[in-house]
């Protein structure tokens, strides 16, 4: 089977720091691929490189077998790739609904919308409220709150809700549950499984091994800027995965990248 999203030989340097060091990456249709690795291993750099948020110094990216040259995250989004960045990418002073619909706002029906180009706020707020409720983020009291006034976890919840609502081909989640509570994290995992059931493949970066082993179909282990190996969670224990990613153990031949 052909990977839906593929990175080959990706290199990204920042001054003296090499964040990606000839790294490969494959995501297959319909799967949940987890990416794990130490802090600073280059996971975020990897997904930024395949989602247009940075342009790699070297290497190629393929979407459904065709070479793509994303110049901006918008390009990737138009191609159907929706990403939750670790920094969340929200406009702090704007409201929850404004952020969720940024760049794809809904307009009022009829004259108001087509000529006066008026936004359909009630509708956007309704949908935003609905998506947040799906995630169990019930503590948000005021849907018009500016994002900067939300708690850390609430903010992350909004970002995840946005990606889940709009992704069509690939959804990439960079540590989506880091700041979330127990209940909210579970909802995100359920959501990930939902999305998979809709046939959309997912990239999940996470430091939470139980979560990773619960939902992932394959696990990409990232170390020192490149893919160390890919393992199947059914064949390996969490201890193996941790040992591999921290360098306590060498990968077996057949899995090595």
């Amino acid at each position: 089977m052909e990977p839906i999203l593929r990175g080959v030989n990706l290199v990204k340097r920042y001054g003296r720091v090499t964040a990606l060091d000839h790294c490969n990456f494959e995501l297959y249709p319909g799967e949940i691929l987890a990416v794990i690795g130490d802090n600073g291993a280059g996971k975020s750099s990897l997904i930024k490189a395949v989602s247009g948020a940075t342009i790699p110094d070297e290497g190629e990216v393929y979407l459904e077998g065709k070479r793509v040259h994303f110049q901006s995250p918008l390009d990737a989004r138009h191609a159907g790739i929706e990403t939750v960045y670790q920094t969340l990418a929200m406009s702090p002073a704007l409201s929850i609904a404004d952020n969720m619909f940024m760049g794809r706002e809904l307009r009022k029906p009829g004259f108001m919308g087509s000529v006066l180009r008026r936004l359909d706020r009630p509708e956007m707020e309704r949908i935003a409220r609905e998506k947040l409720t799906e995630l169990g983020l019930m503590t948000i009291q005021n849907i018009n709150q500016a994002v900067e006034t939300l708690s850390g976890g609430q903010r992350q919840g909004v970002a995840v809700a946005r990606a889940a609502a709009f992704g069509s081909k690939v959804i990439i989640l960079d540590e989506p549950t880091a700041a979330l509570g127990v209940k909210e994290s579970r909802r995100v995992l359920e959501l990930i499984l939902d999305v998979k059931a809709r046939g959309i493949p997912i990239v999940l970066i996470s430091h939470n091994m139980p979560h990773v082993f619960e939902v992932a179909d394959r696990i990409h282990i990232h170390r020192l800027g490149k893919r160390l190996c890919v393992i199947n969670p059914k064949d390996h224990s969490m201890s193996d995965a941790v040992a591999l990613m921290t360098g306590a153990k060498e990968p077996e031949e057949q899995h090595a990248a």
């Binding site: 948020a53 901006s72 995250p73 918008l74 989004r77 990403t83 960045y85 920094t87 969340l88 990418a89 929200m90 406009s91 702090p92 002073a93 704007l94 404004d98 952020n99 940024m102 760049g103 794809r104 706002e105 307009r107 006066l116 180009r117 008026r118 936004l119 706020r121 409720t133 169990g136 019930m138 503590t139 948000i140 009291q141 946005r162 127990v182 209940k183 994290s185 579970r186 139980p210 979560h211 082993f213 619960e214 969670p233 059914k234 390996h236 224990s237 969490m238």
Partner: protein, 365 residues
């Protein structure tokens, strides 16, 4: 699934049982009238400069009586503020994107000179000449926008450079020639369009009473229109997002280049309109006008509560900010302060106005 996960996460299963979920509501204390005002101020931040404005009108009204608190004096302030208000609208847009436009005054003057010279020097029909002037503003704005958005140069430098370039072009092109009001009246009255007035309650000779020039009406309509666009359209939200955090805006799919270019182009166009209004106000076409427009418009924007760091504030606030300065200027002159003292006191009052504004905001968090 592998070992561990099933039982390690079992404590999480309880959340699936869940309780009836509803949006959390914390115990709110009794809501006093004061609290309600505070909340209103919080929701509509442009109310704060409005309060300062009303307060200053009331104070000068008490001090000066009907000399100040008359339709004539109050509409006079509107007339004096019209240019700053229009240019301030352009400035607000740019500042909302975390930029700054030092070239507003220069673009305004060059556009007015183009309108005048095209009509008089080349004898082009005045409607076309006005169109050319507006186009000139758009062009200058486009160059600013392109340099900021595509070349990624700091707006301060870009518009500082443009200021000098446009101003010098203006003097070189116009050869410093003034076109007189009388000639305009007889040959190209359209240039005076925004100088026409609508008087209400004047005496027979047309004195006293409230006088609104078309320029004033244009300013008010423009600000209301922009307030609508900024609040109620996608483009408006994008302007705020770009100013708030350009990186986040880009990552969340805003086409920052397009937004920035459109903002500067619009700013140029509004400045060109300001140039047209300027002809109406001063009667003649004069290349030496508008030298302080940039600082005055930025002042109005900041007093109105728009953050120079972008992304926060409302354009209505800018209008109130401009009016606050206008009220102080006229009020102090009427109180008999001489020019130097007025200048000094306006400095004090600008600081005081913003201090009051800040204080009201703090109370109303």
């Amino acid at each position: 699934m592998s070992e561990g996960s099933a039982n390690s996460q079992d404590y999480e299963t309880v959340v699936k049982a869940g309780t009836a979920e509803k949006v959390a509501e914390f115990g709110g204390g009794p809501v006093s009238a004061l609290k309600r005002i505070q909340h209103m101020l919080h929701k509509a931040p442009s109310m704060v400069p409005l309060i300062v404005l009303v307060m200053s009108i009331v104070i000068f009204g008490i001090l000066l009586g009907s000399k100040f608190f008359s339709p004539f004096a109050l509409t006079l302030i509107l007339q004096q503020v019209a240019i700053v208000g229009i240019v301030g609208a352009a400035q607000s847009l740019v500042i909302l994107t975390a930029g700054i436009d030092l070239s507003v005054g220069a673009i305004m003057v060059l556009s007015s000179v183009v309108m005048g010279q095209f009509a008089f020097r080349y004898g082009i029909p005045v409607e076309v000449a006005v169109g050319c002037g507006l186009l000139c503003g758009v062009l200058c704005g486009y160059i600013n926008g392109w340099l900021v958005a595509v070349m990624k140069l700091p707006p301060f430098i870009v518009t500082l450079g443009m200021w000098q370039i446009v101003l010098a072009t203006n003097f070189l092109y116009s050869a410093n020639e003034t076109i007189r009001s009388q000639d305009i009246d007889s040959q190209a009255p359209l240039l005076h369009f925004f100088g026409r007035t609508l008087s209400i309650g004047a005496d027979e000779a047309g004195r006293g009473g409230a006088t609104f020039t078309y320029g004033v009406i244009f300013m008010v309509c423009l600000v209301l229109l922009l307030a609508y666009v900024l609040r109620e359209t996608a483009w408006g939200r994008h302007v705020y997002a770009v100013g708030d955090d350009p990186e986040a805006a880009e990552l969340s799919g805003v086409q920052i280049r397009k937004v920035l270019i459109s903002v500067y182009v619009l700013s140029g166009l509004i400045c060109a309109f300001a140039g047209w209004v300027l002809i109406g106000r001063i009667g003649s076409v004069s290349p030496t006008s508008g030298q302080l427009s940039n600082i005055e418009s930025i002042t109005a924007v900041v007093i109105g509560g728009i953050s120079l760091f972008g992304g926060r504030g409302s354009i209505l606030g800018m209008l109130f900010g401009a009016l606050i300065v206008g009220v102080f200027t006229l009020g102090l002159r009427l109180l008999g302060a001489d020019a130097q003292w007025t200048y000094l006191l306006i400095g004090v009052l600008i600081i005081a106005a913003v201090a009051v504004d800040q204080w009201i905001r703090k109370v109303s968090v």
